[in-house]
Symmetry: C2
Subunit: 455 residues, 2 copies
């Protein structure tokens, strides 16, 4: 990695105490790389290097640092320095940072902020967590109906440096209701005397402040937007969400799905920053529930204990197939449920498609079931001492297990979605546990009837 | 959904044959919604409605349709209409479309295209699949060193309507080597007489045409970019990738990871569009490999068959715990591997962190192991007829299984990454199979030595 080389050079300058040179070197870097470099330093050096940064980039570097380090740095800086950083940050970055801080620290910080900024930040912090209101920014350019292109251009030139994006401009009426959007390129091309609303696109796609960030991300992705306006319940414009923040939301939501699908409670922290106790706590509930469920599966074996005791090693033969049957069933179910969960997340399938999906999965299951059962039959018949009857029992159980696994795996996520539960919960771990019980029931039922064992 | 209402209205107009009104209604919709509406119609009506669309939006609607329908529509349109659409599309959308078509059709289409467009498309189609070259666009604005701000503004006004993004402008030298970027806002604010290179930011983050799209997505995400320049091996600018395309790449890569982690070969088609045979084929290899591996796990049971035959139902008690042990082990391993795989994908952990990760997982494992073993011990002791010794054997096996599952689950993805394999392959299915074998070995070894059975 190039980063190692950069770090070595900066470390050398830092070690030698060449502050001016270090400052010069830092200005050659991207803010993200500077933040990454700061992560590798201890607290004292972080403070020193941070103070070397030119004022205009220190706030941005701060926005890219991780939360722990930001909090420590805030504590080390004096109130003036701290407030200057908050003031320089885009509002969405500032809110993002402040919401992670203890309430007491936030109060102290805001006490020193200028009143308008303070009111604004407080207002943002009141929106529900993970809502559009929390991730939006107010650094956009707006015009009221009646503004001319000439006035608009003057305004853009005057305010553009403070705005996150100037690609799209927003047109409001007197009550701040969003009427439409205008692309900067349209303004650039129009005559100075024209009124802004003549250029306006009225088919505006927007979200509400209280909408979940997942809905915001889905909408931006669906319509390929670079930014989306956020309106309140009276359709008044209050902010915009830009696509670079959406990219983070998408990764966050994906991580949540991965975690839920692996039987964990979702967490917002990165792995290495999460404490052992917290990691254990997030994993415990599902492990316990699934362990207890699997105990009942074990009860099936106890119920059929006559099979185990039956003659000529048939019991051992049957039992030794349990891992293979359980694993194959679990894998088949996981394949189906993963595809359906993913399809639901991307809006490619919906619970209404249950018929088509089930029909598709059943055909896939029959195909896979036939091939795998034959492989399995031949393996037992050719390579073990067991009879063809044992091979037949196991292979038939295998076929039935695969069909049931595919059916359960594909329909449970759809059912969850239909009753407004998260489909991601119906993933591999639960499917596996259910399919395990089904496969053992099938295996032992077939075995008892084939070999005329017990009741 | 609102979409249902829109569809009903449009269907009514279509049914009544009111073409002019239908055209009017369509112009009120977003291109994405029009494409979605077209998906619900049969071929004949699609052609009819598509021809009603105003020329300036039909190409964009076309870009949002799915591949099957685009291909059918292309076949139904005459060559002139078809070429006009290709000509109107942004180059990245056109390439995206053409690369899915049969080679013969592409040839026919390009034969009618104007020569410069044809050369360009051919050049794009030569880049490797899933590379930056394939997803880039050439609709950006570039200036050569020496251009003044006044000249630049004139050029922007002249060419902006054809460009995908004008937020960032690119500065090249005479050999087209990328020297830096200028934000549109800087140009707007500068005096007409200044030269463009004075405003230029030289710390440009770029990718190469042959870089994998995953690297492009990671870079855009890391640096929060709205677009990234793509250069050839001599650092000459050849295109840009915009963040809206990156959002699609990210979802594509996530879907691939989900599929690999559920023991499937990744597929680029959506679920409902994939044939049964193809679905089965993508699921077959891993199912077979894992089934055969699980056969060896079954062999462990056969090897310890003395335990099964041992006195006083101890055999049944031990066997009935197998599902619980296998499932809990598999779930524990899946939890650890999922977090590590996800951390690797997001660049939050790297193989160098193996020590910290293993130490963390072992502590989590001990915590979870102690609690779950105790629950398990009490359950067997209190609620079953089995002796405390059986309860002890099973609980000890449970503890060891959890520790081993966490250790294997967390380290295998890191090992895969270290040898440049995809960590996503080391997910739940493989971990489960390995942990199954380990847990049965532990269970039977402890049981034989506790109860002094067999050799």
């Amino acid at each position: 990695m190039d980063f190692e080389r950069i770090k070595n050079k900066l470390d050398a300058l830092l070690e030698a105490g060449k502050k001016a040179e270090l400052r010069g070197a830092l200005t050659m870097l991207n803010e993200v790389d500077i933040a990454e470099y700061l992560q590798t330093l201890d607290n004292e050096k972080v403070l020193m290097v941070f103070r070397l940064l030119p004022k205009d980039i220190s706030a941005e570097v701060f926005a890219y640092m991780d939360n722990d380090q930001r909090t420590r740095l805030m504590e080390a800086l004096d109130d003036n320095e701290a407030m200057r950083i908050i003031d320089e940050m885009f509002i969405d970055d500032a809110v993002d940072f402040l919401e992670e801080l203890p309430a007491g620290v936030v109060k102290r910080m805001l006490a020193n902020a200028d009143p308008s900024k303070r009111d604004l930040i407080n207002q943002f912090l009141r929106y529900p967590e993970n809502s559009a209101g929390r991730i939006m920014t107010i650094e956009y350019i707006e015009f009221h109906v009646g503004t001319t292109v000439g006035q608009a251009m003057a305004e853009i030139r005057r305010t553009a440096p403070d705005k996150e994006t100037i690609n799209t401009l927003y047109v409001l009426d007197d009550r701040r209701v969003l009427l439409g959007t205008v692309g900067l390129r349209q303004v650039l091309l129009a005559d100075d005397g024209r009124r802004i609303e003549e250029l306006m696109n009225q088919q505006v796609i927007s979200v509400r402040t209280t909408d979940d960030q997942e809905l915001v991300a889905d909408t931006v992705r669906k319509y390929d937007l670079l930014s989306i306006p956020v309106v309140d319940h009276e359709d008044r414009l209050v902010g915009i969400v830009t696509v670079d923040d959406i990219v983070d939301v998408i990764e966050e939501e994906n991580t949540e799905d991965f975690e839920k699908m692996a039987a964990m409670l979702p967490s917002e922290d990165t792995y290495l920053k999460t404490s052992v106790l917290r990691l254990a706590w997030h994993r415990f509930p599902w492990l316990l529930i699934l362990m207890i469920s699997a105990m009942f599966t074990g009860g099936i074996i106890t119920h059929f204990e006559d099979v185990l005791a039956s003659a000529q090693g048939i019991g051992v033969a049957i039992v030794s197939c349990i891992p293979m049957l359980m694993d194959t069933g679990g894998n088949c179910g996981a394949q189906a449920s993963t595809l359906v969960i993913r399809g639901l997340a991307l809006g490619e399938v919906s619970p209404r498609d249950v018929g088509r999906i089930l029909w598709k999965e059943l055909r896939v299951a029959v195909l896979l079931g036939v091939v795998l059962s034959i492989v399995n039959f031949l393996r037992i018949w050719w390579f073990t001492a067991y009879s063809r009857d044992v091979a037949f029992v196991v292979s038939l159980a295998m076929f039935c297990t695969i069909v049931i696994a595919k059916a359960i795996g594909s329909t449970l996520p759809l059912a969850a979605k239909a009753v407004h539960l998260d489909p991601a919960l119906m993933a591999s771990p639960i499917i596996t546990t259910i399919v395990d019980a089904a496969s053992l029931l099938i295996l032992f039922t077939i075995a008892t009837s084939m070999f005329h064992i017990g009741a």
